[in-house]
Amino acid sequence: MSKSTKSKAELKKLQRNTRRNLRRMVKDSHPHYALTAGRIFKYGLYSFGRNIWLSIAATLVMIITLLILFSTTLASIVLSQAADAMREKIDITISLQSSTPTETLKSMSDTLRQDPNVKTVIMSTAEEGYERSLQENADNEELMNVLQDDDMKAIMLNTMPATLRIRVFDVDNLSSIQNIVEHDESFTEFIHPEIPPTYDVNRLEIETITSWANVAKNGGLILGGIFLVISTLVIFNTIRMSIFSRREEIYMMKLVGADGSFIRGPFIVEAGLCGIISGIIAASLSLLSFNLIEPGLTSYGINLTTLTSLLHSSWLVFLYAIMIILGVIIGATSARLAIQKYLDN
């Protein structure tokens, strides 16, 4: 600084004294970390109670965010399971002449089972096909009368194909099975002349459905991500508004000599507490809604047994833990970022 009226020696002495005084000030302040942490926590709890409406608003927004997160994850799992279930249904149906002997059918099944891509082979003779038709139409008395007619039975047994239904591990690799069916003489001899194997048609339809399921799953994840970002911004703004309304307090705290952590701490504790409460509520609501929709989803053939058994065992604790941790992270980070502006000024 210019224009000083002090001599160099006086300035040096002042500098020395200043440094000594500053060191002493720090030393005299006796920071008791546990005590300070306790006070920060206490004031965070007080603030939560005394700003109850803002706390409720922040908690509600956080609950919505966590529910969106849970629903997106659940939807992703369900769609993924649904796609798998659909792919499971991809099978190759080989229709054979009605007169194909049962022994031949068995030997054909054995040949097919030797292919490593084949999961199961279900064979059905013309008689079994006829019996299945009777069972499927048991409710329709009129049709049953027709089906049970001796002439009709004879016609059906003569025209109904025997079938081989093949399930595979990899639906994208059917060439080896196709090769056997189309070129093995024991097959070509008995293949039904009018009904060709169905693997291509059926597969394409199911592949289309599963690819749509994948699109829906990915779209859901992207939408969920967007919702998550929006609701995190809403939480951030709610906490920022809460801190903005208390900027005078922050200014006063700074002037009285509170350091950054002592000012920041209670705000973070308050937001963290909102996170804990919303985590618990969101986890409970998620569990409740899952239990409500689970029978419906299962009835559509979606296999949720793993998820259901997890949510009905001690793993449930993890759902709560994840929700609480996410709530605390979102709340505390928002508070930390929002308050920094007022501490820097």
């Binding site: 005084n21 005590l35 007080y46």
Partner: protein
């Protein structure tokens, strides 16, 4: 105790300086009024002491500490050595009177036992012991200002800065607050008060520093009175005035 040496400050974007070559020396245990119109530079000067602002040129030494060396890390520690009172009290609205005063001690890491000993004593000194568990909103302006003073003196600072402490108060309450500040000064604290209140300044007749356009235009070290222009010093001669009135009556 407080030393300003040729301190100047111009805020960015401002044409005129907020402080113009200000030099002041205030000794320990002094009671000083800083007067001047709005925009005279009083608040900037206070902000320099509280280290909210830094000078462009010049040196400020407070309680043996050259503020040039008080880096952001040391600012909280430095401020704990000051007591600051504001016109608008600046209390924590969601904390009780007791908690407001205790806050100043808690940030310094004082033990809970010491705090529970100190706070009632300070509240008793300002006459608010019976309102310890009330919230600021439930107190009158004068009471809120007394809480603010209690908070500022709880750590027994060597320097107390009061920025327009009576600005929002009625006449009777103003007198109470000034009496309280005098009491604190009598305990050995240096008190610097900025004010517009002519009555209070003339009532106490302490040292009065007058500022205008960022510069000090007068420094009445003894029996100062409120004046905003740099005219020859006027002293109040109450007996003479009474005599004059008597003479007038006689003349009538």
């Amino acid at each position: 105790m407080i030393l300003f040496e040729h301190v100047s400050k111009t805020y960015p974007g401002d044409k005129n300086p907020a402080l113009k070559d200000v030099s002041i020396q205030i000794s320990p245990n002094e009671f000083v009024f800083l007067v001047g119109k709005s925009g005279a530079g009083k608040s900037t000067l206070i902000k320099m002491i509280t280290k909210e602002e830094s000078p462009d040129t010049g040196r400020i030494v407070i309680g043996g500490i050259d503020l040039d060396y008080v880096t952001p890390r040391y600012i909280p520690y430095y401020r704990r050595r000051l007591g600051v009172v504001f016109q608008d009290f600046k209390l924590l609205p969601r904390r009780t009177v007791y908690e407001n005063v205790a806050f100043a001690l808690e940030i310094a890491g004082m033990s809970s036992k010491d705090i529970s000993n100190t706070v009632p004593k300070v509240l008793e000194l300002v006459g608010l012991l019976d309102k310890a568990h009330k919230f600021p909103d439930n107190l009158s302006g004068g009471e809120q200002q007394r809480v603010s003073i209690a908070r500022s003196i709880a750590r027994q600072p060597k320097i107390l800065i009061a920025d327009e402490p009576t600005g929002n108060l009625d006449k009777l309450t103003r007198r109470e607050i000034i009496d309280l500040l005098q009491k604190i000064n009598a305990f050995g604290t240096t008190v610097l008060v900025t004010t517009h209140d002519e009555t209070i300044v003339n009532y106490l007749q302490k040292r009065v520093i007058t500022m205008k356009d960022g510069a000090i235009i007068s420094d009445q070290k003894d029996r100062g009175i409120y004046k905003l222009e740099n005219k020859p010093k006027l002293t109040l001669k109450k007996p003479l005035r009474r005599k004059t009135l008597k003479q007038r009556r006689t003349n009538v």
